[in-house]
């Protein structure tokens, strides 16, 4: 297998206005994020010849390209859920390495909070009659995503004795990072007791085990090694990537305690020639507290079943030995529906030393891991700076 290590680098990142943006469509937010990422890189729109886009509307990537006035030579709309943008990094690096495009834009936005208030939200609970879940899950009261992740959490607790207080440690650590991030939506102090006293959603997950619902978008620009060296910002090299999906419905998940991060992580570490002990800062998809715990185990940061003990004593928090989700994550910063783009923007800023008060000292290697669907897909991206 050929390696993509240092064949491409992230050279620009940007976010749209974040949080609650009732006066903007998702296309405006994509435009904002793209402008900001181009400015960050010191590139022009005309430099983009590869477009990587994912969203829920019909033929959305083509809509996005038209809105931005881009006619790409290479286009990819892979949509495995919230991990889409980690998949896109691998696909963009491969396309760049193959010479099929030179400068790729990965972009995405949603307005879930505004849509909910306008009662225009997507309804994933009533899918197409073609979908197996429609026949075999939804008649029993299934809906995504909270009960599906709750089923995984229950099984992990049963097999390994993981506790709600341990899950709460993850939410508390995310909040401590959010307190340091002016862009975060939820910045009031939060304790383990607060998490345990929040309303029950689906046992064992309580409100503060669950991510926020927000508006926002992000953009990431990736280009060739040669071009990256001539641009404004220090190149953030793609050192390793991996992707995997193991099922679609939670009923089809082979083992509720093992996510496809086990496979995407192995692939990414092998490509990068690194191990978990080389990683200075983690950006893990935190749709729910349990999502983080499962990734820590599956990516090899602790043995399977040890995740609960691993996150105790605020190990993931500012000052902890395994800093994770330094922007506050989906739990306390924002969650637009597919959080994976923000794992990349925050990971890049950490490696450039641009993270302000929340900067992890001397961060040289970052691991960004996206999870999509009902723990169905995983994309791992390992980034590094010289």
């Amino acid at each position: 297998m050929s390696s993509l290590t240092r064949k491409a680098a992230i050279v620009g990142v940007g976010e749209s206005d974040l949080g609650y943006t009732p006066d903007k469509t998702f296309l405006q937010l994509i435009g904002q994020a793209t402008q900001r990422a181009l400015d960050d890189a010191g590139l022009k729109k005309s430099d983009i010849d590869g477009l990587f886009s994912a969203g829920w509307l019909t033929m959305e990537s083509i809509m996005v390209a038209e809105y931005l006035g881009i006619q790409p030579a290479y286009s990819d709309n892979t949509l495995p859920g919230g991990s889409a943008f980690e998949f896109h990094v691998e696909h963009a690096a491969a396309a760049i390495a193959a010479g099929l495009c030179e400068t790729a834009l990965i972009c995405y936005a949603e307005t879930r909070l505004s849509d909910r208030k306008r009662k225009m939200g997507l309804n994933f609970a009533t899918g197409s009659p073609q979908e197996p879940e429609e026949q075999f899950e939804i008649p029993y009261g299934q809906w995504v995503p909270i009960p599906t992740y709750a089923l995984a959490a229950q099984r992990h607790m049963y097999q390994y004795g993981t506790t709600s207080a341990q899950l709460a440690e993850i939410a508390v650590a995310a909040r401590k990072w959010a307190e340091l991030n002016p862009a975060a939506s939820m910045r009031d102090p939060l304790t383990v007791d607060d998490v345990l006293a929040s309303p029950m959603m689906s046992t064992p997950l309580r409100l503060r085990d669950c991510c926020l619902v927000s508006d926002g978008g992000g953009a990431v620009i990736i280009t060739t090694a040669e071009r990256a060296k001539s641009l404004r910002k220090k190149p953030v090299w793609v050192l390793g990537c991996g992707e995997a999906h193991t099922h679609r419905s939670i009923t089809g998940m082979p083992d509720l305690t093992v996510t496809p991060a086990k496979f995407s992580g192995e692939r990414a570490f092998r490509m990068a020639g690194l191990t978990p002990s080389d990683i200075d800062v983690l950006q893990l998809y935190d749709s729910f507290t349990i999502t983080v715990l499962l990734q820590l185990e599956d990516l090899g940061f602790c043995p399977k079943g040890e995740g609960g003990r691993f996150v105790e004593d605020q190990r993931l928090a500012p000052g902890g030995s395994q800093p994770a989700n330094t922007g506050g994550g989906g739990l306390s910063c924002l969650h637009t529906g597919m959080f994976g783009i923000f794992l990349l923007t925050e990971g890049t800023r950490q490696l450039r030393g641009e993270a302000g008060q929340r900067q992890v000292p001397d961060a040289r290697h970052a691991l960004c891991n996206g999870i999509g669907g009902s723990l169905a897909s995983s994309g791992t991206v390992i980034l590094g700076v010289e």
Binding site: I138, P139, Y140, W143, A150, Q154, M201, L256
Partner: protein, 136 residues
């Protein structure tokens, strides 16, 4: 007076009609591959282990264990009146898993690993949903 059943019902395709017909006659039918011997769920016309089309319907024992269970305090659409209700993954004796609800048991008493057996809930004249109760 009968109340109309308002919750979501499966759209039954030809591929799965035998499963739903089985449920109506109080049999839990699952698919088994004649070529490689693997059971699978949900029922498909292809074996997801070896992609053989030689798959047969087999009557399951109807017994299994609770693989995982959650009690939903926030409902799916049209389940508002049921809150809190349980959602369980059942591992059948044949080794496959299916989603269902546990009945005849308070939510707090449902435990992972508990042995259960199928019961049939005829929710409409056309549709019977397999559900599970603790095995006495």
């Amino acid at each position: 007076m009968t109340t109309e059943y308002v919750k979501p019902l499966p759209y039954i395709h030809a591929e799965t009609k035998a499963y739903w017909d089985g449920a109506k006659s109080h049999e839990l039918l699952i698919r088994k591959c004649v070529t490689c011997g693997q059971f699978h769920f949900y029922p498909r016309e292809f074996c997801p282990a070896c992609l053989s089309s030689d798959v047969e319907w087999v009557k399951a024992s109807g017994r299994g264990t609770v693989y995982s269970v959650t009690v939903c305090h926030r409902p799916a659409p049209r389940f508002e009146k049921d809150v809190p209700y349980n959602l369980a993954l059942i591992e059948l004796e044949e080794g496959v898993r299916m989603m269902s609800n546990i009945v005849d048991c308070p939510n707090d008493d449902i435990k992972i690993g508990m042995t259960v057996e199928v019961v049939f809930d005829s929710v409409t004249p056309e549709v019977t949903l397999p559900k599970f109760r603790p095995l006495k």
